[in-house]
Symmetry: D2
Subunit: 417 residues, 4 copies
Amino acid sequence: MASETIELRGHIIDSLILPKVLDQILTRGANFKISEIKIGQRRADQSFARIEVSAETREELDELILRLRQHGAEVIEKAEVQLARAPADGVFPNDFYVTTNQQTFIRLKGKEIEVQPVMIDSAVAVDQRKRTARAVKFFDVGQGDEIVVGHQGIRVVPVQRATSHTDAFQFINTSVAADQPKSAVIREIARELERVRSAGGKTVAVVGPAIVLTGAGEHLQRLIEQGFINRLFAGGAFAVYDIERALFGTSLGKSPDHLLAGGGHENHMWAINVLRASGGIAAAVDKKILTSGVMHACVGHGVDIVLTGSIRDEGPIPGVTTDIVEAQKIMRDKLADASLVLLMGTVLHSLAVANMLAPTIKTVCVDIDPSAVARIIHHQPFQSIGVVTDVEPFLRQLTDSLVDSDGGVPKRRQEKK
Amino acid sequence: MASETIELRGHIIDSLILPKVLDQILTRGANFKISEIKIGQRRADQSFARIEVSAETREELDELILRLRQHGAEVIEKAEVQLARAPADGVFPNDFYVTTNQQTFIRLKGKEIEVQPVMIDSAVAVDQRKRTARAVKFFDVGQGDEIVVGHQGIRVVPVQRATSHTDAFQFINTSVAADQPKSAVIREIARELERVRSAGGKTVAVVGPAIVLTGAGEHLQRLIEQGFINRLFAGGAFAVYDIERALFGTSLGKSPDHLLAGGGHENHMWAINVLRASGGIAAAVDKKILTSGVMHACVGHGVDIVLTGSIRDEGPIPGVTTDIVEAQKIMRDKLADASLVLLMGTVLHSLAVANMLAPTIKTVCVDIDPSAVARIIHHQPFQSIGVVTDVEPFLRQLTDSLVDSDGGVPKRRQEKK
Amino acid sequence: MASETIELRGHIIDSLILPKVLDQILTRGANFKISEIKIGQRRADQSFARIEVSAETREELDELILRLRQHGAEVIEKAEVQLARAPADGVFPNDFYVTTNQQTFIRLKGKEIEVQPVMIDSAVAVDQRKRTARAVKFFDVGQGDEIVVGHQGIRVVPVQRATSHTDAFQFINTSVAADQPKSAVIREIARELERVRSAGGKTVAVVGPAIVLTGAGEHLQRLIEQGFINRLFAGGAFAVYDIERALFGTSLGKSPDHLLAGGGHENHMWAINVLRASGGIAAAVDKKILTSGVMHACVGHGVDIVLTGSIRDEGPIPGVTTDIVEAQKIMRDKLADASLVLLMGTVLHSLAVANMLAPTIKTVCVDIDPSAVARIIHHQPFQSIGVVTDVEPFLRQLTDSLVDSDGGVPKRRQEKK
Amino acid sequence: MASETIELRGHIIDSLILPKVLDQILTRGANFKISEIKIGQRRADQSFARIEVSAETREELDELILRLRQHGAEVIEKAEVQLARAPADGVFPNDFYVTTNQQTFIRLKGKEIEVQPVMIDSAVAVDQRKRTARAVKFFDVGQGDEIVVGHQGIRVVPVQRATSHTDAFQFINTSVAADQPKSAVIREIARELERVRSAGGKTVAVVGPAIVLTGAGEHLQRLIEQGFINRLFAGGAFAVYDIERALFGTSLGKSPDHLLAGGGHENHMWAINVLRASGGIAAAVDKKILTSGVMHACVGHGVDIVLTGSIRDEGPIPGVTTDIVEAQKIMRDKLADASLVLLMGTVLHSLAVANMLAPTIKTVCVDIDPSAVARIIHHQPFQSIGVVTDVEPFLRQLTDSLVDSDGGVPKRRQEKK
């Protein structure tokens, strides 16, 4: 029988930290004794618990303690972090510590150092001279770098529920199902978009082809024109569908305006060819070849476009990053200072982006597949809203909520005159 | 080796009759020889084919011929229909002929008699004296009634594609996927609703709880107020959700207006209690207890309400038919003269109703589950449109398309003033 | 500002009671102060918390307190329960208390009385003379009966996580996704079936048509033959599919043995006719008309069969309860002493049954639709396992796990010789 | 009013060519007159039709004729193909002809030349001197190359249904739904695997993570060991999951053997690290670091491994092609001589591969999502089977069907001794 003592601090009950810790202990057949507990009396007060955890074997205990640390448990004897040198470029030492998506500290020579940036599934490289700790990916490690191994001397601080107020992002379970009303939550999201724009924050839209295919491109375009979107992440196909629609009136041969539109795959392939001939999206806008659509709006309103390739893509069009390791670096970089991320109509890109987010970035996920929504928002408790719906009406209603509040006559109705 | 000669008549190529017949023959490993074929030269012209079908055994051939008859093949020797007497009330003779959902004729004493009504999965009762043939369900047969057995002397005439024009209902594959644009098809459906209302036809709405839960009740209500809906089929739960919303502002404790509405199940149960206390929906409207919502609109605008029970129901509320055999009879009766059926947000009721429809009734099916839509519209080729989407935005856009065309200012916006 | 003091007792942290209570308070924008808290030190120890809850208005507080009571909170001033008389047969007084699926007590003349049975969405009828409290449905109340109203004097005791051991049913989140391994959890379920059989408990199988259609009927049959199933709930269609297969080798014209089986709907309708002619399932077994299949096994091994009608049914066959209120009574009655319930391949029946279960009944739900599984097991935390998979391989593997452990050579392989 | 005459040849009715042509004409509101038709009398006989097609405008007619050509229609005046020069490297001339996935011929100087290879969504580059026509992708075209434009002088020959026999691949609608029996179709697939192996053909398995995650890796491994698989396409993640399981007993921290396995993401990251340290999969096998699992079996049995990157990937591990344009080239190359392709548990890769297949390659698609299966097999009529099911039991049953027929005692049971 092995045992160890852990401590928990913060809003450990209403942010579910203590329950999750006890759940892990019970689920794994271990035992606990709470040797001290102090529960904050009021909403804003912090709580504290000291728990003695015991398991059958040292291995089981170690495994368990590692999980508990990831939920924010600190092991009380203030051990030093353990380091080992990377054996080769691009290779970590065995038993390297794998980061979570939570704020993390290491204890080095008796002092705590924060690991930066917060990046899941990384190793931690330590510079003992500069006293810094960096989360690093494989490509980022060089032979001889000092890397954290084991799990001593590491403290994780999970995101906790806000104590000052309650908003739609702060529910434990924030997925709005297909058969639930969505108007109220869409209005909340509109308010958040406005807050971020006012505060000069960055909103990143991660978008899938369904947006263009269903005719929702015009709504997204309005969001861009009104300055609500700062960065746009998409697969190359999204850009081609959008430009096909701008050039030929169809996307994959379908049109929201005509029941029967022509052009199976020709329009799609021709759109790619036009972009290759003109030198890319910005060039096509410059040359007045591309005069409408989402990509055109991005170029005109200074939205940062990140396009990544997929093995299903034709082309590619100029500007698409076809190497996925390169694409990941660009995306991670452009997400570092984001305030709000909208994941809409793309499971692949949404899962990829969700894995790159710091835990404090507010996230909205919209998809028609309930399982996909659940998987995507899973990592951002207290910071995410999932909406199971068709993306076209979602964006329509979101845009209407925004323009209505934007002062004066809503834009879409104005345009109709 | 057994063989038989069949004949096909009508638009046998573009309505897929000849291809389906050949597909059946090939799929079952049989052989064919086309002894005569005359293809209509122009769109409106009829075609004709005489095909000799052969199979290894007589049993295989009989089985195959039965299938081919259901696709419209006639066996050319003009055999008499075979009859046998029902052995007991509610029991058919062995080997009774099971009807399809297509127009059917039997040959009795050298003359053809049409089976009426067109009703799938029934037997055919023949009155030799009156020279009539009725499609009958089990409950409708009495001991000694003469029932068609085997499959001789039976001719099926499948619905064929219209030759005079093309509309959205006439495509072979009419399901609009989640990631396809829906505006154009919704406008087509709006036009059909208007045509049916102008022509004095009957439109039946078959509706599920998602309509009320997502806040789409107000759109349906407008359809009713403008006279587009003549009959409403629903489960008892739909009515309770709608009335709960009218009385307490919630449905199952959720509200489209407030992110956090109170009332888990109490409001639901209390709404049932109010209806039981007041004596039913119409009585509650009379007594001014119920003053808004879909059911209120139905009572006020003379819409025929058919409510059926489910084993998931609480209550029941007065007016719900809890016996399902009884409920089927009522539904079948109310569908007999329908022109257009809207199946929205309910798989159970939609499948039940789809099975009761004559093949010429136009059908629209709306659901968020693509597999459900495919199954529901499967029986109505050339007469049905499936739309895979959230039902709330569908009904919103449908209603907007209608009111916009209704002359003058759209109603919803007017009301906002 | 209104406030009230509540108390929580039991395994309030690891059974998630305290976190859920705080979540409700925060989510609804209310405030709390924990005036006393005592956390059990060891796994088996009980905990206790006294919390002062405050909200803006009395109405908000009342609404909130009602929710908190449903999570097990007690309001500390020991108020008497409030009663009012039913105004008519089948009608409760306004503001009647709606039960949860948790153990409930009322305080009458200073003493607590347990409400029996535990039945969700019911009212509580009190007999002051006999000092009993019954959960009653609408049909069960007579004019003048005394019914609990408001929410004073009511105490709910939620099911808590077992302290003595950990098993597969006790996880907080027990749904096994489609892309997760299932062997281990299926073995656990096999063990539970064996435990229940050994202990003389009752296992209820609630089954949908997919079981017969996919060819899993033979596995279910083996479960029945080995005495693992005591009651079988199904729709009428399940029985017909099974009997169609026994009589004609097909179910809905499909066969697991032949790629191309004959018989569209004829076999289905003919099977119904055979049952109507023979007088029902048991009679057909007696007369040696029905000699194999699931229903045959049920008759031979004394399994209690409960068949309910659906508006999609043909027939009905004798023995189907076509009135759904009547069917609910029968099901509720047959579930009262169940130990284990298997919900397999039927969303409608599973949701209906899940709503009838006492919170301590162990539940397994198997379906290919992840959203359906999540909804069905939602009410039975710490007592349910959801498995997202095809029902045929699930039952195959479950049965193999059982027979292997049944002593000696597995049955299926034996039979092959 | 414009008109043109087309001709159809082959099994134009049972392979649905004539019906599809008429459907296109009617759907687009055009008219037709069949000036000559000759229907093959027997199964093996060819048919012929000459049809005069007319539309309102020349543009509509051209658009329509383009579609009809893609369904195999020939425009009868034997026009020469039109050519234009590529304006730059990687750019086609405007209006370039976009290929289908069907056999295609062009008419050059009065003679027909076959376009090779059959490759969808490509242009056709013509070498007038060598008299060759190549399907080319963007990367493959150089400035000045002669490219087919417009749609004159092009003849498409759609795949037609086999006339010599009928097998499971030849049905028009070959998707087996979740609630249908699968044993018979799995046996057919087993037979096809055996046929291909005997004939020395190449079988390509395209596999997703679900195979490893659900514990189906051991079945796939057996297929490989018995020589049924020649090439394996997967994302990098598949390989990592498989190797994680081989090294640590888990995949993404889950194990099919233990209900509760340890190791959230650490094992996954550590597996990547091991592979990077050892220099790749083959090196890890050589060094005896990797001694079991699917990838190990591939190395041991000479299976060609193609791993492609995804923006969701960690790592990458050595051997993964991270540039998607490069990956497409490799995949296309390795598919050129395939006889049978198994697409299992991966929508992204399956859609990508389905788009690269010649129309004569037999295809099996297995996934739990019915919509995904429908989309994937859509391009391979008469050559594909879709199975909606959990991939683990599918592979288990497939492997059992094979080993049983492999002579002697089934392997799996043998191993158990």
